[in-house]
């Protein structure tokens, strides 16, 4: 029975965790301009995430070490300092754009500008971390995240032409707006494979005390959970392709996304869109803040359990307090949420090699993971993924310049 409960919670977590400001907004922009053409990037991103989540979960279950621990212990501080610094920097920008997502959902509902909502949202996120423990954060935000299923309902209601949807799953090059196409493709990959997700997942696995008998749960959670998350953002893209593209609406401002569901589900569509954007981003806010605190604490050897009272690990709790409130200040300063979200997704994609390639070495180190090390399939898949992330890294700056606005 425990196994089934773990499985369902795992899947629920990945739904809540997967969909956030980045994946929603990039999918809406992609659908509005290129129709189904960019679906393949969501598929690629979801497969990549599945791979990394499964492996970081296996690492945690077999060795009791999180990704953060393993990066420091295996490669020493000389290498670890790079994923640490890039990870914290990039996650901070993503965190600010998540707070932006929640604040904008509140702005669309109330008319009060998102800048006023930024600090209350950051404070609410901090309060949940300060009072709640890991279970509350993980399960709470994911259960609420279930409301994001409205996207699947809406997508089905629009009866998409499944043949062309399938065609969208094949990598194609665009016939117009080349740079914008590839900029969105990279942003979507960055939105799907976010390092904080598998760092958070491996820390959760260690905190829940996973052992080698949880490997099957781990595999199922990774595959089912992440694919469900992938289907959700694909649904968002499909709706944008069927609602915005024919009407010629391109998303230049974040709030335009609010028009996504009303034409399909009327007022309930509008309310549910705000609810799912707000809740998914709020869940991501707490998860990213924790993931950043985990990364730093694990890297430097502090106590880091979220289950403990804040007093028991002062530096860890101070870290997440400062991080979330600072990110709130960034959003309160009124930075354009759409540009920040796109930019942070692009930066996430560009920072992937720093965590994906070491996973290659970690998961093949017999001394570390013993016979649970990668089989040829995971190695081949991780190899392809590493190549993709390196290509993305080198294309990031030119794409930001050409396709950036």
């Amino acid at each position: 029975m425990k196994r089934i409960l773990d499985l369902t919670l795992g899947i629920v977590t990945s739904i809540g965790g997967f969909l956030e400001a980045g994946s929603i907004i990039t999918a809406v922009q992609a659908g509005a301009v290129f129709g189904y053409k960019l679906l393949w990037t969501i598929a690629l991103g979801t497969l990549g995430l599945m791979l990394l989540v499964e492996q970081s979960g296996r690492l945690a279950a077999v060795t009791g070490r999180t990704v953060g621990d393993a990066l420091r212990e295996r490669f020493g501080i000389n290498f670890f300092i790079i994923p640490l610094v890039t990870g914290l920097l990039v996650s901070f920008l993503v965190l600010a754009s998540e707070i932006g997502g929640v604040s904008l959902a509140l702005q669309m509902a109330t008319g009060i500008s998102f800048q006023w909502w930024a600090m209350p949202v950051a404070f609410a996120g901090w309060f949940l971390l300060w009072k709640g423990n890991f279970g509350v954060v993980e399960k709470g935000s994911s259960l609420l995240g279930l409301v994001t299923i409205v996207f699947i309902v809406a997508a089905l209601k629009l009866h998409p032409d499944w043949g062309r949807v399938g065609a969208g799953l094949l990598p194609t090059s665009p016939d117009h707006d080349g740079p914008r196409y590839w900029y969105l493709a990279v942003s979507i990959i960055g939105a799907s494979i976010s390092p904080y997700l598998y760092m958070f997942y491996s820390s959760g696995a260690v905190e829940d005390g996973w052992g080698t008998d949880d490997l099957s749960t781990n595999k199922a959670t990774a595959v089912i959970g992440m694919s469900f998350g992938g289907v959700l953002s694909a649904a968002v893209l499909i709706i944008a392709a069927l609602v915005f593209l024919p009407r010629g609406i391109q998303v230049d401002r974040y709030e335009q996304a609010g028009l996504l569901l009303p034409p399909v589900l009327g007022h309930t569509g509008f309310v549910l869109f705000l609810a799912s954007l707000g809740i998914a981003c709020f869940g991501a806010t707490t998860e990213i803040t924790l993931a950043m605190a985990y990364l730093l604490a694990q890297g430097l050897g502090w106590d880091w359990s979220e289950n403990a009272k804040p007093k028991q690990n002062a530096r860890f709790s101070l870290m997440y307090t400062v991080t979330i409130l600072l990110a709130g200040v960034v959003m309160a300063a009124g930075i354009d949420p759409l540009k920040l979200t796109n930019f942070s997704m692009m930066l996430t994609a560009a920072s992937l090699p720093v965590t994906v390639i070491p996973m290659f070495v970690l998961m093949n180190d017999e001394a570390l993971v013993g016979e649970h090390r990668n089989r040829w399939f995971s190695n081949a898949a991780l190899g392809v993924l590493s190549i993709v992330t390196i290509v993305v890294l080198f294309s990031a700056v030119p794409l930001q310049i050409l396709g950036g606005s």
Binding site: N78, L368, G370
Partner: protein, 126 residues
Amino acid sequence: MTARECRVELLIGRRVVDASGEVVGRLEEIVADYVDDEYVVREFHVGAFAALERLGTGIFGRSLLRLIGGGRIYTGYIVPWRHMDLSDPEHPRVTVAKSELRRIGETPGPRSSARPAAQRRSRRSA
């Protein structure tokens, strides 16, 4: 600092030269044994990444080396403690010619620092 001390973490990754000044490789591992309540150094492992020699010691160079070199799959030399001169920790020197050193993997001895994470071995290597 009592007697004469040097720091392992600053030694690791340093370029090691032999008696004639020829480059042996980079210091990758120090094996010590737990002998009557003391961790006594038995040997040093100098990894010879011929291709990566020029990476240099910048942050990026050393970290890339750690990423690749950190593995156990390297070729290199075993330098018994007697032959390693650490008087200048910045430039460790081998007191004999490179040719006299045993290559890693040649002798059937236990793999130098493979230490199965879980079990504890009788002769603990630190």
